[in-house]
Amino acid sequence: MSPKTLYDKIWDAHVAHEADDGTCLLYIDRHLVHEVTSPQAFEGLRMAGRKVRAPEKTIAVPDHNVPTTPDRVNGIENPESRIQVEALDKNAKDFGIHYYPVHDVRQGIVHIVGPEQGWTLPGMTVVCGDSHTATHGAFGALAHGIGTSEVEHVLATQTLIQKKSKNMKVEITGKLQPGVTAKDITLAVIGETGTAGGTGYVIEYCGEAIRDLSMEGRMTVCNMAIEGGARAGLIAPDETTFEYVKGRPHAPKGAQWEAAMEWWKTLYTDEGAHFDKVVTLRGEDIAPVVTWGTSPEDVLPITATVPNPEDFEGGKVDAARRSIEYMGLEAGQKLSDVEIDTVFIGSCTNGRIEDLRAAAEILKGKKIKDGMRAMVVPGSGLVRLQAEEEGLADIFKEAGFEWRLAGCSMCLAMNPDQLQPGERCAATSNRNFEGRQGRGGRTHLLSPAMAAAAALTGRLTDVRDLM
């Protein structure tokens, strides 16, 4: 048998039907649902008199719209947000799917709740009407975002119409330097490949620096595969994965666990398997990075300066000029001189316990700069609880951070957590698009430790100077 990549193996195990032209019906093991991209899909089912084919494989949680302030127990003030969440409440009930409502302690960002509850397992196919579904690839699951029509298709048939993508390998060799994290890896890769570099591919991340990452770190890396244009990101499961999964509420138990392990241990890329594209970075070469522009590919080490648009080629010249103007920066300006007024720690990229630990480590016993607006939005109610038990919440609060309830929050600013025009935010989230965190708002993407450092000094800061 010819050698296969990890992607080939998972794909082959899920093809329910293949047409002559290669169009496949790919079976979906887990379908995650949230309130923003699902109402029209459920409506479509109702209109056609269709049912959810596999409600036991469908999990819903509201996250995008929910306020993260303590007063949310009194209900959601914004009428449109409230209607979307109420629609999800009703749809979950009517169609009999698993549901974590707003008041449930397990509620949180769908991509944090799925793994936390053991819904996401190695070798699975996982989809959600959200591009950051790529996160679940950290488990060696084939996971990607879909549109609402596809959400409806999966609800009705438990399959997706797909053609196979190409294989791409991203290898990070060696060890990371102190102060460099999973977020720096994933941003550095996008800086190297560009936001369209992964278009048409599924990426497998490998190499010593990836192996050394915790599950939290691996989720951060895979989460941003979509920002590199890839359909999905994957990391082969290993002891770190199995250790994380074992004992989770929906993970297999007893004999089922043993059977699952037997298969999971075969989930790796065979020696000699073909990759259509290979990118290699040396772990030692990756520095703590920040973004300067309005595309996630606009990545530079914190020690660098804002680039000159003329240094680029083709369409990027105009795009860089527009970005720099929008961001209120000047070519040649040192990134470490850029002053910020807001810090956001959270999101499906960096809202897990390890992220909060990394930020708290920098903040311990210190105060954030006067006038700084800083918030921590844990990725789930359980992350929040754990952070409180570990004393992290106290560190954040004493430093001057707001300590919020779980949700997507200022990552996409659909709830009240938004930037005002001209405000500049150091954010641990995943997109720095124009207006992403609020109309006219300016976003610099970075790691949780770098975000904490920025909160202390009031400007983009090399975290290594504070270590």
């Binding site: 329910a16 039907h17 923003v36 438990q158 244009g229 595309s295 795009a319 997109r431 992403r436 006219g440």
Partner: protein, 201 residues
């Protein structure tokens, strides 16, 4: 879904690369539970001033392009989120074809589900089409799906590729779910097999 045949109309130029889904439709407009009515907020933040009122500089606000049916856009169009509100807004505005050198994967898929034809062309052809789009109202392009051909206002013909299954669905206005449900016995069979092979799922 409406059948897609031929589009003959004005094409609007948007040469900016990496036009993302937040630009196409900002999140404030994702709070709807309907698919319709989003055309007025297409490209909202570029199209209107902060205080309201149209930005005259924006291409779709120029008299020549108000009824545009074709968009010629820069590379990596539609990158970012999976929000299908982006193609819903494009369709609702009246745009039926988007042409670029590349598209983000999820956006590209979403277009076909909504009767929009996204066309990928080579850079040299893209430059010809972008020039043609800049000519405005008097320059009408024709996109012919059956023949897989774009004809510029000067009569230059450019061929394009499209997945045969997707072409068939667009031409006939077919609903994916209906088609897939016809293969239900394959799904049943797969489930039966998978429940043996991977009972923990």
């Amino acid at each position: 879904m409406e059948k897609f045949d031929k589009v003959h109309g004005v094409a609007a130029p948007m040469p900016l690369i990496n036009i993302d889904t937040d630009m196409i439709i900002p999140k404030v407009h994702l709070k709807t539970i309907k698919r319709s009515g989003l055309g007025v907020v297409l490209f909202d933040e570029m199209r209107y001033h902060d205080h309201g009122g149209e930005n005259e500089e924006f291409v779709l606000n120029k008299p020549a392009y108000r009824n545009t049916e074709i968009l010629v856009a820069g590379d990596n169009f539609g990158c970012g989120s999976s929000r299908e509100h982006a193609p819903w807004a494009i369709k609702d505005f009246g745009i039926k074809v988007v042409i670029s050198t590349s598209f983000a994967d999820i956006f590209f898929n979403n277009c076909f589900k909504n009767g929009i034809l996204p066309i990928v062309v080579e850079e040299e052809h893209h430059a010809i089409l972008m020039d043609d789009a800049h000519k405005g109202e008097n320059a009408r392009m024709t996109v012919h799906l059956e023949d897989q051909k774009i004809t510029t206002s000067d009569g230059v013909e450019i061929e394009f590729d499209i997945d045969p299954h997707r072409k068939h669905c667009l031409l006939n206005g077919l609903d994916d779910i209906g088609l897939s449900m016809e293969k239900e016995h394959h799904i049943d069979k797969f489930e039966e097999h998978a429940s043996q092979a991977r009972p923990w799922v």
